[in-house]
């Protein structure tokens, strides 16, 4: 008989639980309940004490008698090296507590919502969807990819642990923004969004699927959504990514480059980090220098290490390719582009580029500039357009858009019908919004106006179809529907303007009325102007009242418009209608989420406050910024102006730096940028997680009742409108039309 296992009383499970709870080596952080009577019994019973000791010794024998306590030599360095070269592993992380709370609908959450619902009384809450399901910061699930770096033909297996937002969906799918080597920056360009996989729930409760990237695709950003596109998990804006690897398993240059393109407009810092990774992975490839140069310029910090690093690498390439020695067109192009173009070396490289590689992308750009320079001297537009035709034919794909854009401007100014038609076709694509823009050009030209009006009517018919526009990766169905409606209004505005120019006043008015909903400043201006042309002073006044109310209007414009409107007998009614239209239109974009978790923020003076307290009882704009993000630094003056304007309306503005500590350098930065707005850091990064903030700048609107009202925007103008709309709705100054 073993010394370890004498027979006796309470159950093995009870004793095992007691042993686990007492174990010094285990985590035992959430002990299952151990009945006090079991403890007492064991304490009093020799046999059970022996059994307990046996259990403890067995577990201890396993816990202590195991492999060497330290990993093999070199493993640590190998891990760090893997990180440095860009290796990433998506780990099966546990669900956070808040997620679990939502799923189980615990009394805690119900209470939180109950309190919030009671507090967010009457006015504001019925305007937007009741925040009954989503808690800020808990919208992301976990998508595990069998590899992030598939080679051509590789199958990528997907396992998705759904967020509470999507877990109840009957079916899920994975959509992807696909990028080939020629795709351009930002979400549009030559990228396309397609459904790549359907996910199926299996017995483990997870969703599974698999995908194979088309061979031409070098980068894909993935998001999971329900089949209606009602809710989308895009990893809080990060998306999940696939980067094409070559046959040896090494991430391709083009994949990393397309990642940078894809991150533009989403996260400048990660894009910059990727450019560095690109340079580190392909140190001898001169194309990497162009990205580093761009980030060095965009950073706006000449003394920064970004610029220093760029300068050092540029010198290396300069030494390697002394002017005139290289014959490779790509190398000549990049050497010229990254040189000081006014220097003797820059001029020599330009000469070589135009002589030896005249159809290189940079050479085409130089020849384009040259043609435009010649035009300013000669005023011979026909000759310039002819030159641009030649350039367009010779230009590589990445440069054609630039040539066409310049040529279309010239053609319109020149008024040549054939040129306008040709360059419009070359400039715009086939989607409904591109077609609308092309038709808008035609409408402005008398000889093409009839054709333009017909094209606009076709666009309007096309926009009735749900697939007339491509839906973006992170665009929910409701946002997509709003964008389609906006596109229709733009088409109606262009059509109305064209009809008015054709003398069809009645038709123009009928059309313009359909463009007048919503809140788009350019459309409102167009409608006001056309309404005046056709003599509809009521519609013109309606639009002017809205333009006077828009916060983007300058004080001078606002005063002028108000003075004109004040003379009208219905001035007060116009003002009220404009207020109502403003609140209705802006709050239609609301997607409120409760801030249910604590998020401590530290002020520069060291005081700690909670994110929820920061916005208590007052509509607040919280701006997330990073000192290391070019666009965020650039927007700071606008933040200051916005804060001053909103303060007059009783709206507070706070700035949250994506840093964990208050450092002297941060204080110096704040002083240098004359930020007198209350400023915080995020010591536990709970703030940015709660805000689903990824990429800066981000403007977040909090309604004073514990709700984050909209998805973040990076545009201070949009943020200003949103904050004012929430404030006006909450103040009860306006009764939205959607009120019961």
């Amino acid at each position: 008989m073993s010394r370890l296992w004498p027979a006796s009383h309470p159950t093995d499970e009870q004793l095992a639980e007691l042993a686990r709870t007492l174990a010094p080596y285990g985590d035992a952080r959430t002990p299952d309940a151990v009945d006090a009577s079991v403890r007492e019994h064991v304490h009093a019973c020799t046999a059970c004490t022996t059994r307990l000791h046996a259990l403890q010794r067995t577990a201890a024998a396993i816990a202590t008698g195991t492999i060497a306590p330290a990993p093999s030599a070199g493993r640590r360095d190998a891990m760090l090296a893997a990180r440095a070269r860009g290796d990433r592993v998506i780990l099966p992380t546990a669900a956070d507590d808040a997620t679990e709370r939502v799923r189980t609908s615990s009394p805690w959450v119900r209470t939180a919502f109950g309190v919030a619902a009671a507090a967010a009384v009457l006015v504001a809450s019925f305007v937007w969807r009741t925040p009954n399901e989503v808690i800020a910061g808990t919208t992301a699930g976990d998508l595990t990819l069998s590899t992030m770096y598939p080679r051509a033909g590789d199958t990528v297996h997907l396992t998705y642990r759904a967020s509470p937002m999507l877990d109840r969906a009957p079916a899920l799918r994975v959509r992807a923004r696909l990028r080939s080597v020629h795709a351009e920056s930002y979400e549009g360009g030559a990228s396309s969004v397609v459904t790549l996989a359907r996910l199926h729930r299996e017995s483990d409760g997870r969703w599974h699927g698999r995908i194979v990237l088309p061979d031409s695709i070098v980068f894909a950003a993935l998001a999971v959504e329900d089949t209606g596109g009602t809710d989308i998990d895009d990893h809080d804006g990060r998306t999940w990514e696939l980067l094409r690897a070559d046959g040896a398993g090494r991430v391709m240059f083009e994949a990393l480059e397309q990642r940078i393109h894809d991150l533009m407009g989403r996260n400048w810092e990660v894009a910059h980090a990727t450019s560095r990774q690109l340079a580190d992975s392909f140190p001898d490839d001169i194309r990497t220098l162009s990205w580093e140069r761009s980030f060095a310029i965009w950073s706006g910090l000449p003394a920064d290490s970004i610029a220093a690093r760029y300068d050092a690498r540029a010198r290396t390439f300069e030494q390697r390719h002394a002017a005139g020695r290289t014959r490779d067109p790509t190398t000549i192009g990049y050497l010229y582009w990254t040189s000081d173009r006014r220097s003797p070396r820059g001029r020599a490289l330009r000469e070589q580029l135009l002589r030896d590689a005249p159809t290189n992308s940079f050479a085409i750009q130089e020849r384009l500039f040259e043609a435009l320079d010649v035009l300013t001297q000669s005023r011979d537009t026909a000759r310039a357009l002819s030159t641009l035709d030649t350039l367009y034919a010779q230009a590589p794909a990445d440069r054609r858009v630039q040539v066409a854009d310049q040529a279309l401007g010239l053609a319109v100014a020149y008024g040549d019908t054939a040129s306008i038609r040709r360059w419009t076709t070359r400039t715009f694509g086939a989607s409904a919004d591109e077609e609308r823009r092309a038709a808008g050009v035609f409408v402005q030209h008398p000889a093409l106006r009839a054709e333009g009006l017909d094209r606009l009517r076709r666009v309007l018919r096309a926009l009735e179809r749900p697939d007339a526009l491509p839906r973006r990766l992170s665009e929910r169905a409701d946002a997509f529907a709003r964008r389609q409606a906006l596109e229709r209004r733009r088409a109606f505005a262009a059509l109305g303007r064209g009809l008015a120019q054709s003398g069809a006043a009645a038709a123009a008015l009928d059309t313009l009325t359909r463009a007048a909903d919503g809140w788009d400043v350019s459309i409102m201006r167009a409608v006001a102007s056309t309404a005046k042309t056709v003599g509809d002073t009521a519609l013109e006044a309606r639009m002017l009242a809205r333009l006077a109310l828009d916060p983007a209007a300058s004080p001078a414009v606002r005063d002028s418009l108000r003075t004109r409107l004040r003379a009208r007998p219905d001035a007060e009614q116009l003002q009220q209608d404009a207020e109502r239209a403003f609140v209705d239109a802006i709050l239609a974009e609301a997607r409120p989420r409760m801030i249910a978790r604590s998020a401590p923020l530290r002020a520069l003076d060291g005081a700690v406050t909670d994110l929820r307290d920061l916005a208590r009882n007052t509509v607040t704009v919280l701006v997330t910024v990073s000192r290391y993000c070019g666009p965020a630094v650039e927007v700071l003056p606008a933040v200051r102006s916005m804060a001053a304007a909103l303060a007059a309306e009783g709206i507070r503005t706070h700035v949250l730096f994506e840093e964990t500590t208050v450092s002297d350098s941060l204080r110096a930065f704040v002083t240098e940028h004359t930020l007198t707005i209350p400023t915080y850091v995020d010591p536990e990064q709970a703030g940015t997680r709660t805000l689903n903030s990824w990429g800066t700048p981000g403007f977040h609107i909090l309604d004073g009742n514990g709700a984050l009202v909209f998805d973040a925007t990076s545009d201070p103008e949009v943020a200003t409108r949103r904050a004012l709309a929430v404030r006006r709705a909450a103040r009860g100054a306006v009764s939205p039309r959607s009120a019961p």
Partner: protein, 183 residues
Amino acid sequence: MASAALDLIGAARRGDVTALGALYDVHAARLLRIAFRVLGTADDAEDVVHDVFVGLPEALRHYDERGRFDAWLAQITVRTALMRRRRDQRRRTDVQLDAIGASAPEPSADVRIEMLDVHRALAELPETLRDVYLLHQVEGFSHLEIGELLHISPGASRVRLTRALDALRRLLCAHSDDSSTGS
């Protein structure tokens, strides 16, 4: 949690390699033991720990500082190890006895025999029972947590633990008898 530790975690979350290295220094050995217990081979366990730290900065975005960091890391390590085992379909049928106590203070002969007995018995347990036993008795996870890790109900975890204890008892009795009658 101490602010220094939080700073370290925060820095690692931002991809700071120095902070990541510091976290590795503190936690890697323990995670290696955990991974080894699940996988049974040192090489696989080291690979898992490697993966855990390579993926840690991104994974930390999901970490809520209210919980214990080392416990959270242990959970991720177990999950990663289980995934690897499922993927590789390499079921172990024996334990690397050579590795037992390799760098621990030399135990007494009795204790070493006891440890070998325990490891042999453990190796003979079906994987489903061994997992629950290790996670509960050695790593200290609750049945609720084990349920989530292994995709079974907490009740099933309890049942498996009882069966594991029963099987271990029988196996250890048999080993003990072998020892006393044989060599």
